[in-house]
């Protein structure tokens, strides 16, 4: 037949790809043009962007609304400290090994919490994260409840001089964000990504069309947990100090991330990017106002949820039919 052809890229997506690659080159060169404070801030933005993309894949696509991803952020952070201090691993190697361990530990956790649905699932994930926090607080070798600092010898493996270390740490964060973004993008573009998107829209119809919902969700949970642990390792490689309360903070690693994804646009690939930029813009503007900062964040979240439930990107997409990441299929008919 072939009365029609199928394409995926659009003009907007091609322009976005070119601009994105140019932007990436500029950002990769940041250690030569940005100040130290800016470099730190940008590193933090990349790590939050990664966390937001991962949480969005889980909650926005797989319907796994977790409020306990701080379990894997903290786990990744602690694995960095434990594996460098006790096993003598290079920090980057330690972070990757930590990710594998996080994947391994996420499987039994998933079989447990996947029995819970909706709000119960959310609470279950939080309980798991609290169990992690309390468990790591018991380990005296890692500083117990008060935590510990990364030894100078380990830090120096990233670079002999402070400037070199900061540049390395910046590139690691940028690299992680690029990898996460591309991994999520290529996954969503694949056949399994199509299945996951179907699950997002209707689970009952998806299972009726041959999609194994449980297995798909398990895969997403395990992979996001492993990546979240990598980001956790990088976060605490920047901070150089870890404690149970900082590592397993529901505020820092989940509440802010949910805010980012919801205001940006949940269930879209562009949403977390826009949300991250908005979040950091608000944070920098309101930095001097203390608690008012959190109240404004709350207010913005409420207004967006009421006025634009699909987030800022949802508004833009519906109005201009835009797509920066070419995930959609477009059918062109020939007559």
């Amino acid at each position: 037949m072939s009365a029609a052809t199928v394409t995926r890229s659009t003009r907007a997506s091609r322009i976005a790809m070119v601009l994105g690659l140019l932007g990436l080159v500029v950002l990769a060169a940041a250690p030569w043009w940005a100040g130290r404070a800016d470099l730190r801030l940008m590193g933090e933005i990349y790590l939050y962007l990664s966390l937001a993309c991962l949480w969005n894949l889980m909650a926005g696509y797989a319907g796994l609304v977790s409020v306990g991803q701080q379990a894997y952020v903290g786990f990744g952070g602690y694995m960095l400290f434990a594996l460098t201090v006790f096993a003598g691993l290079n920090p980057v190697v330690a972070i990757l090994v930590g990710a594998l361990l996080a994947a391994a530990i996420s499987i039994p956790i998933a079989t447990l919490i996947f029995r819970l649905k909706g709000a119960y699932f959310a609470i279950g994930t939080w309980v798991v994260a609290e169990v992690f926090r309390l468990s790591f607080a018991q380990i005296q070798a890692l500083g117990g409840g008060s935590g510990s600092s990364l030894p100078v010898a380990v830090v120096k493996e990233l670079g002999a001089k402070k400037a070199a270390r900061e540049a390395t740490s910046y590139w690691l964060a940028l690299g992680a964000a690029v990898i996460v973004l591309f991994a999520v993008y290529f996954f969503l573009r694949s056949r399994r990504g199509l299945a996951l998107t179907a699950i997002r829209d209707s689970e009952v119809a998806a299972s009726g069309l041959g999609i194994d919902i449980w297995r798909t969700k398990l895969e997403v949970y395990v992979v996001t947990s492993a990546f979240t642990a990598i980001i956790g390792g990088l976060i605490f490689l920047q901070k150089l100090r870890i404690s149970p309360d900082a590592a397993f903070s529901v505020n820092d690693w989940t509440a802010f991330v949910i805010f980012i994804v919801v205001i940006g646009g949940i269930g879209t690939l562009e949403g977390p990017i826009i949300g991250t930029l908005l979040f950091f813009a608000l944070r920098e503007v309101l930095a001097d106002y203390g608690t008012i900062y959190l109240m404004v964040l709350g207010l913005v979240a409420i207004v967006v949820m009421l006025k634009a439930p699909k987030g800022v990107w949802g508004l833009i997409r519906d109005r201009y039919d835009l797509e920066l990441f070419p995930l959609s299929y477009r059918v062109r008919q020939k007559d």
Partner: protein, 242 residues
């Protein structure tokens, strides 16, 4: 003739509500069978038991010679059972073409160009090709019903289960839908159809099964069934003893 679908002693209840009570019947390959019954008789539950959305308390579901009673909904779709939902369940954030592509890649197991061609040809059959790029959430009722049909067909089913697909349509819409279903049946797909729009059902099916309170109360050719006292009582409220 071999039975494509074989239901034996199917039992299912939710507390005191019995939705399937020792239900047994066979559907032969290539047949088109209608299912009638009042609201709440257990017709949709029967479909849920056949597709695996519900698990039976007792009894067996056989398909193409295999016992699939314990198989998941996904496995049953891959084996060749697809359905349309009474209340349309579109993948609302995806385009119409992508909805069809889900069935083609997951249910029918096709990939790449082959899957795209199959999805396009099904859209052509069901008259939705012009709407291929529309988001499914923006469709009208008729288009949603057609999308249900499209998605089920995209999974290349041997057995197609239609759940009140003609309900709520105008006469003209209903006629064009009937023509589509007739042509699908003519190409060899076995069809089981739950429908309250009797003239639509009678235009396609060769046999009718009547269900009430989860029990099969009558079965036979459409003419005999429509004249039977049980059906008259259910649909016209006539007391058969009067």
């Amino acid at each position: 003739m071999s039975a494509l679908l074989s239901i034996q002693g199917l039992q299912k209840s939710f507390g005191a509500v019995v939705v399937a009570d020792a239900t047994s019947f066979d559907i032969s390959e290539g047949e088109a069978v209608g299912i009638l019954g009042p609201n709440g008789a257990g017709k949709t539950s029967l479909f849920n038991l056949i597709t695996g959305t519900l698990k039976a308390d007792a009894g067996q579901v056989g398909f193409a010679g295999a016992d699939i009673t314990t198989h998941s909904a996904a496995a049953r779709c891959k084996a060749g059972i697809a359905r349309s939902f009474q209340i349309p369940q579109p993948f609302g954030g995806m385009t119409v073409f992508e909805n069809a592509l889900v069935g083609a890649t997951q249910g029918a197991g096709l990939s790449g160009h082959e899957a795209e061609e199959h999805a396009l040809s099904v859209l052509d059959d069901t008259g939705l090709l012009a709407k291929a790029n529309a988001r499914a959430g923006t469709l009208t009722l008729l288009e949603r019903k057609r999308l249900e049909l499209t998605r089920a067909l995209s999974a290349k089913p041997k057995l197609l289960l239609l759940d009140e697909i003609a309900g709520g349509l105008t006469e003209a819409e209903c006629h064009s839908l009937i023509a589509t279903i007739q042509s699908i049946h003519a190409r060899g797909t076995t069809i089981v159809w739950i429908e309250h729009v009797i003239h639509a059902l009678l235009a396609v099916v060769e046999r009718i099964i009547v269900i009430d309170f989860g029990k099969k109360i009558a079965e036979g050719d459409p003419k005999t069934i429509m004249e039977s006292p049980e059906v008259k009582e259910i649909y016209l409220g006539v007391d058969p003893d009067a």
